[in-house]
Assembly symmetry: C2
Homo-oligomer: 269 residues x 2
């Protein structure tokens, strides 16, 4: 456990509700329950990289002492962060910053299965990589100005050896400085793992919009389809903490043998 880390978080100091002028009050946490202020402070530390993904947080008792709150209050904050998959708690071991690499997460966003329900980790082929400027649609999705520098990545996903998905990924160049075709191709895990390990960007959720349409010519070529055949178009905006967009992705899926699956799951408890 690192005392340094705790010191960097800082205790939650708040005055009595009677006269706030006499005591220091964290500006954001006014009128907020104490456990929520603690939660925000912890989330801020995770976002800022004070605790790296996969790293252990200080123990509950240490954190409670560092924040100057009771163990129960600290637990409530940590519980909520756990429910949101920001951190992971393991009895007897400690509390860790989630890495989003745990396998289960692999199928959380893009979820394409064969018609019979077979799941498989897709094989990814890089088909294009270029630097360009954001068009209006990408800019709106990424909340940047049209014309800002972006990186465009073309991927082909194969399932059971069959080319099923053609991805066109748009990244804000300013967020992914130093990303090269070589570095992208040399990655070991998924592209989201690369965002995290190489650029410190954690994708925590996404919004997807889907429609049916005809396969564009380039996609038909990449997937080996007849041009104009019916395919699914999925536009995904991937978000990090605070719902800040980090990636805009247009996926075109050949659904003749596969399906796009959406489990509206309750949290499994």
């Amino acid at each position: 456990m690192s005392i340094l880390a705790i010191d960097r978080i800082g205790a939650i100091v708040r005055g009595p509700p009677v006269n706030p002028a006499f005591t220091a009050i964290a500006p954001d946490t006014a009128g907020m329950p104490l456990y929520r202020a603690v939660k925000r402070a912890l989330l801020g530390a995770v976002e800022a990289g004070t605790f790296a993904p996969g790293a252990a947080l200080p123990s509950e008792t240490d954190l409670a002492r560092a924040f100057g709150v009771s163990i129960g209050t600290l637990r409530k904050a940590v519980d909520e962060l756990g429910a949101e998959h920001i951190i992971v708690r393991r009895q007897g071991r400690g509390t860790f910053v989630a890495t989003h690499n745990e396998g289960r997460f692999l199928f959380q966003f893009f979820h394409v299965e064969r018609n019979d329900g077979l799941r498989e980790h897709p094989q990814v082929d890089l088909v294009s990589f270029e630097r360009s400027r954001a068009d209006d649609v990408s800019a709106a999705a990424l909340q940047i100005r049209p014309g800002e520098p972006v990186i465009e990545i073309g991927n082909r996903l194969r399932l059971q050896g069959r080319a099923v998905v053609h991805d066109r990924i748009i990244l804000r160049a300013a967020l992914f400085k130093g990303l090269t075709e070589k570095r992208l191709g040399a990655r070991s895990g998924t592209i989201y793992q690369l965002y995290q390990s190489a650029f410190g960007i954690s994708v925590v959720r996404a919004i997807e919009r889907a429609r049916a349409g005809a396969a564009p010519a380039d996609t038909a070529r990449v997937l080996g389809l007849a041009p104009g055949v019916a395919v699914m178009h999925v536009h995904r905006t991937a978000l990090t903490f605070g719902d800040r967009p980090v990636e805009y992705r247009h996926s075109i899926i050949d659904t003749s043998q596969h399906e796009y699956v959406n489990l509206l799951a309750r949290p499994a408890r």
Copy 2:
């Protein structure tokens, strides 16, 4: 508050872990934390209809006394049920069985928006109603035997006056005894509200599988499309408590002006 209701729940009686033989132990709750046993008992009461949807549960203090557990333990059980949207807690008022009619829920499953993001409650037209027997696909989805009696409902959904979705709904006849075309047409709310109010069936989650394809002839007629145009097919299995299927639905969506939206949202806390 009804003492009767509490009596019907029954206290959680469990012996010390040392020698279980000396005290009565609820068979299902062996080795389970106490708060989980309480949660299961409450869930069972909700499922059994001991507390009707919308009805208030006894207060925390009464429930804690009825179960013979501390207020903290009772709260932990109730908190989890709240996180799963089984019940709803309102400070100063009480705890209520969720009705799933709260508006927010309307867009939880089927979520079709116009391209520009405009949401609207769909207008529903009943286009067919018949009793038949389950085919292999429906039977598998509903976990019944092929040939069992089912009810087939055809619906057309209009958004902004435009026919966008054609639904074919398959219900197990045994679960929806007394459902008639007249009763279906005379309902005031959504079809899921009818399931709940008229048949005591709460839909708590769903699984959807989507693909692109051509519009079938009957759908093209219902939606006013050219036959063979690209549309989205969504197969949904709606589930009640314990993941028991209650409805199988095949939706065909004209995505020329609208989109199927999937918000992979974290719980909003």
